[in-house]
Amino acid sequence: MVQKYKFLTEVELEFMTQLWELGQGTVRDLLDTLSPDRPLAYTSGATIMRILEQKEFVTSTKVGKTFIYHPVLTKDAYQTRSIKNLSEKLFDNTPASLVARLVNDSDLSPEALDAIRTLIDKRLKDDNS
């Protein structure tokens, strides 16, 4: 059976981004790092973290009355998962089309294109060796 991966909603991604940066943290820690123009109740933050735990993105340990959350999935792993999903859904499962779209983007600077070329060359060299 094909495993169905879970993805993050917008607000969950905000929380995960903060948690990836902090390494671990409580709901209060995460709320403090959010933008001040985004007031969020403590209970809402706690609910979001509980959902992330059910989605198996984080685990928690109880210290006294507080839960400390740790990311289970790394940011890189989630990026890979998201790109794969994007490639499957929007680019007919052909990663070349995805890269072509990215490279053809006129906003991409020559430096960024060079970096992409270096990455591809490195990957090809690694595969050959």
Partner: protein, 382 residues
């Protein structure tokens, strides 16, 4: 012994009765609006539900009533019968019609049942086959919708639990809804709503009110009966009207008990609609749930928009419904009496009444007259 013909007869009776009850309830609704009592939504909702229940159980009530008549507790002559009434009116000259045509009209139901189950005629068999196929298809749709609902609930995330009430959050939905199983009740909210505190509070209050009013149980009951009434337009009209009344009544109850601001409540309804504006497949299978707002595909989008407009107007108008129980009794009791009397009146007459004998005699005399008037009959060929 209960034969297929008897069951089919009862099935036709229930459908005919639903059509009659639907007409009567809609007429009552129009009359109430005409006299300025259109805001009595809870009383009307209860009336429609009680009448629907009476229609569905009417075959059993008829069986019990007939048993009572057969045991001599009630005189057979005192049982109203529609066809006997029509024949009596005909004989008294209330209307003019060819007697044979009248006889054919009165026996159309028994002839239909006979055509379907006894004579197996060329029209009857395909019609029964279509009916059975429709019931099977709609039954399968119902099973599919239950499976889809189970999957939606399984894939959602537990938020809170109060006894048998489960509050869950889902990434897949954009419109909050409530539903239930035999033991548990569920309120499922879009997970994105968690950051909108005002909407969250109003939505929760609204969905819990639906569960309190047994709206969810009624929705499941109506959806379970849809395969049996799939061809009957009265069923769809009925369901649509019940949905309207249910939402109007729920909005009012929540506003009265929680004291939310009208603008805040209207904002919440519009926000949910706005977040749900994405194309739906034309033949999407509806799941048996009670949603905060109804979102339909392009074909029926106008209906959803009209319902939302009515809800917003009703909230802004803010007319309080006084004594809903008394109004319900005032409306519901005559409606129930009418439904149950009609269910008895549309039964086949148990015996040949004097009027029926008279009609039969008239038909026979007409036949003899026609035969005698035929010039070739009785004339020797030599």
């Amino acid at each position: 012994m209960i034969t297929a013909s008897t069951v089919f007869d009862a099935y036709l009776d229930v459908n005919a009765l639903l059509l009659l009850a639907c007409t009567a309830c809609f007429a009552t609704g129009y009359a109430l609006r005409f006299v300025g009592l259109g805001h009595t939504v809870l009383a009307q909702l209860r009336m429609m539900r009680a009448t629907f229940l009476a229609v569905v159980i009417s075959p059993f009530i008829v069986i019990v009533f007939m048993a009572v008549v057969q045991n001599g507790y009630i005189l057979p002559d005192s049982v109203p019968n529609l066809s006997d009434f029509i024949v009596a009116q005909y004989l008294h000259g209330a209307f003019e019609m060819n007697p044979t045509a009248l006889e054919n009209l009165l026996s159309v139901r028994s002839q239909t049942a006979s055509a379907f189950f006894e004579t197996h005629d060329a029209v009857g068999v395909p019609v029964v086959a279509l009916l059975v196929a429709g019931i099977v298809v709609f039954g399968l749709r119902l099973a599919l919708s239950i499976l889809r609902l189970r999957r939606m609930i399984r894939d959602s995330y537990a938020w809170r639990r109060f006894g048998s009430l489960h509050l869950r959050l889902s990434d897949e939905i954009s419109v909050p809804f409530s539903t239930r199983s035999l033991r548990n009740r569920f309120v499922v909210l879009p997970s994105a709503m968690i950051t909108r505190n005002a909407d969250l509070r109003i939505t929760l209050a609204h969905e819990i009110q639906h569960l309190r009013q047994n709206d969810v149980t009624w929705e499941i009951f109506l959806e379970a009966l849809r395969p049996l009434f799939f061809w009957n337009p009265a069923f769809y009209l009925w369901k649509r009207r019940v949905e309207q009344l249910r939402e109007l009544s729920c909005d009012r109850q929540v506003m009265m008990s929680r004291g939310y601001k009208v603008a805040e409540y209207c904002d919440c309804l519009i926000n949910v609609c706005q977040n749900s504006l994405k194309p739906r497949p034309l033949f999407a299978v509806d799941v048996p749930v009670v949603a905060l707002v109804r979102i339909e595909n392009r074909l029926f989008a106008q209906r959803s928009a009209k319902l939302l407009k009515n809800r917003l107007f009703s909230l802004i108008e803010g007319k309080a419904e006084r004594n809903p129980t008394q109004v319900f009794l005032l409306l519901g009791l005559p409606m129930l009496a009418l439904t149950l009397t009609a269910s008895l009146a549309i039964q086949k007459p148990s015996d040949w009444s004097q009027d029926r004998l008279m009609l039969s005699t008239i038909i026979n005399l007409e036949r003899i007259h026609t035969t005698n008037a035929t010039p070739t009959f009785g004339v020797p060929s030599y």
